[in-house]
Symmetry: C2
Subunit: 327 residues, 2 copies
């Protein structure tokens, strides 16, 4: 095991093995490794480089791996250095993690300009989120200029990924629902682009219909705060068709948002929000870490549900225990 | 000043003066009054009665006061006892509180079966939210069976109100935007009904067009978890037209959700969520109540924004100060 300084210098040189080891330290929860992790992170922060962070989501079966394989390979062919990360808090349990099975991304896995890292095998979303955010910083310090963060199409992890990327792309299946019926609540608000995949073979026609339907439905939506209107496109990741157009669209987004300064503003807000989020989640963690609080919470919460005590009185009791125990 | 027990018994008898005084105690922040408030609340919780809680929102000018006047008067004519509350954290500053000016609700103000209480003049949304939730309990214990909670059409206070009511009604102006353009993000997800007001005089035609447009746009949305589909209606609060149909629709909602048990389930979840919310907001309040934390937070937050320190390192520093100071 090289010294931390040697490891950092390896990361700065873009050595994938050093990057991988540094991420392992970041993912560790031992006190000693957290100290090292903070040292690495501060060094990487000072060494920061320009990058674009793209979030990609979609339900299982939508072809995320195929899309990332096609999209990432196109980017490395253009001279980009691509890091592929994942936020999948379920991966420990399900073992069905998208990136766990690297055989699905044959090209990218052997591509010298691509770096693939599966979701940290950590049960809590908060932990996975923190580690992925930190991993982004490490990858950027290692010279990766395009970061793809993949997530499974389930609620909270999508919100977490959207809060760490510049551009959020939602992959859709053709005909997976009529019009907006197939669209989850809130996803349109989050998406910078909806891309219907599998515009090929037997589903080509359905993809075209879905594209038209979504375009019609989405034009009713107001533009986002930064002036961007959610784009609707279709592609065949399998046949590498439409992938170039998607990249062009993302570049246009980046250019526009850099020109009107919303790009840096969004990142600045994300960093500030992270600070508050970390503090709040740590305060909560501290609170519920106490065994007698947890036991009392369980009892009181059941009483609240049955309307035997008010939420206010129950909260007051729990906070009194907390103050007594922490002083 | 009567004793607390006399006050509670006055509330139970439905005496408006006792109810008003009890609410004033609830709204007070002195330690002594908080003790009394908890005593009153526990008594009211035990005395709880059946009620329907309806949230009403809409931008200034949409005619909320006129609507509540017409809607509330219709309800009292049907033998209902109606309490009108408000969540308007801006009322202290703007003095433009919807309910502050009771002259806008001439009929209801003198109606013996109506009770009107303006938003507590408390600057923070959290404080206003807690007080309004507690006031609902008091009004219900006093026999008010229909609680209308009004809020101004701005973000967080709408979310707060939606989390304390059974039914959430969004008032819209006719022609205040084409199709969904005039609709704020997330509002469709929250609304159980969209009601276009001012379907009268020069705006009658525009209201009809808006109703058709919203209906067309909304049918693309999937039903809510409880099976309810957001309804679109129009009315003229000024001419008392369409008000009865709205009440019929709300009754249908209540019946359906009571039949499939989602009514009590929603309330149960609201109570449980309140418990967690109160704990989390108190933990945050405790944290930021510390002056040296506040000063350090300001400094570190600016550094985070400028990317001079990571969000993680900054949070760690603040939490260290917190732990040192609270032990």
């Amino acid at each position: 095991m090289p010294s931390i300084d040697a490891l950092i210098s390896g990361v700065f040189k873009g050595e994938k093995s050093a990057l991988g080891r540094a991420i392992t330290i970041i993912e560790s929860t031992t006190h000693e490794n957290r100290e090292k992790a903070n040292h690495i992170l501060e060094a990487c922060l000072a060494h920061k480089k320009n990058s674009i962070r793209i979030g990609i989501t979609g339900v299982p079966g939508v072809g995320k791996s195929t899309f990332i394989e096609a999209f990432g390979s196109m980017l490395t062919a253009k001279g980009k250095k691509v890091a592929v990360l994942a936020v999948d808090p379920s991966s420990t349990l399900s073992k069905g993690s998208i990136l766990g099975d690297k055989t699905r991304m044959v090209e990218l896995t052997k591509d010298p300009n691509a770096f693939i890292r599966p979701s940290p095998s950590n049960a809590s979303l908060g932990g996975v989120t923190r580690q992925t955010r930190e991993t982004i910083m490490l990858c950027e310090a290692a010279g990766f200029d395009t970061i793809l963060v993949e997530t499974v199409g389930v609620g909270q992890s999508e919100i977490a990924v959207q809060a760490m990327v510049d551009f959020f792309l939602v992959l859709k299946l053709p005909g997976a629902g009529d019009d907006l019926q197939g669209i989850k609540r809130g996803i349109i608000e989050m998406a910078d682009a909806l891309v219907i995949n599998k515009a090929d073979g037997a589903t080509k026609k359905a993809a075209q219909i879905a594209e038209t339907d979504f375009k019609r439905a989405l034009h009713l939506y107001p533009p986002k705060e930064n002036g961007w209107v959610t784009q609707v496109m279709s592609c065949s990741a399998l046949n590498h068709e439409g992938i170039g157009a998607i990249w062009k669209m993302i570049q246009e987004y980046i250019k526009k948002s850099q020109d009107n300064r919303t790009f840096e503003l969004k990142r600045k807000k994300q960093r500030e929000n992270w600070l508050s989020e970390i503090i709040e989640s740590e305060l909560k963690r501290d609170f519920y870490a106490n065994k007698s609080i947890r036991e009392e919470f369980k009892k009181l919460s059941a009483m609240v549900a049955q309307n035997k005590i008010s939420s206010f009185a129950a909260a007051k009791k729990l906070l009194q225990i907390h103050h007594k125990e922490s002083s």
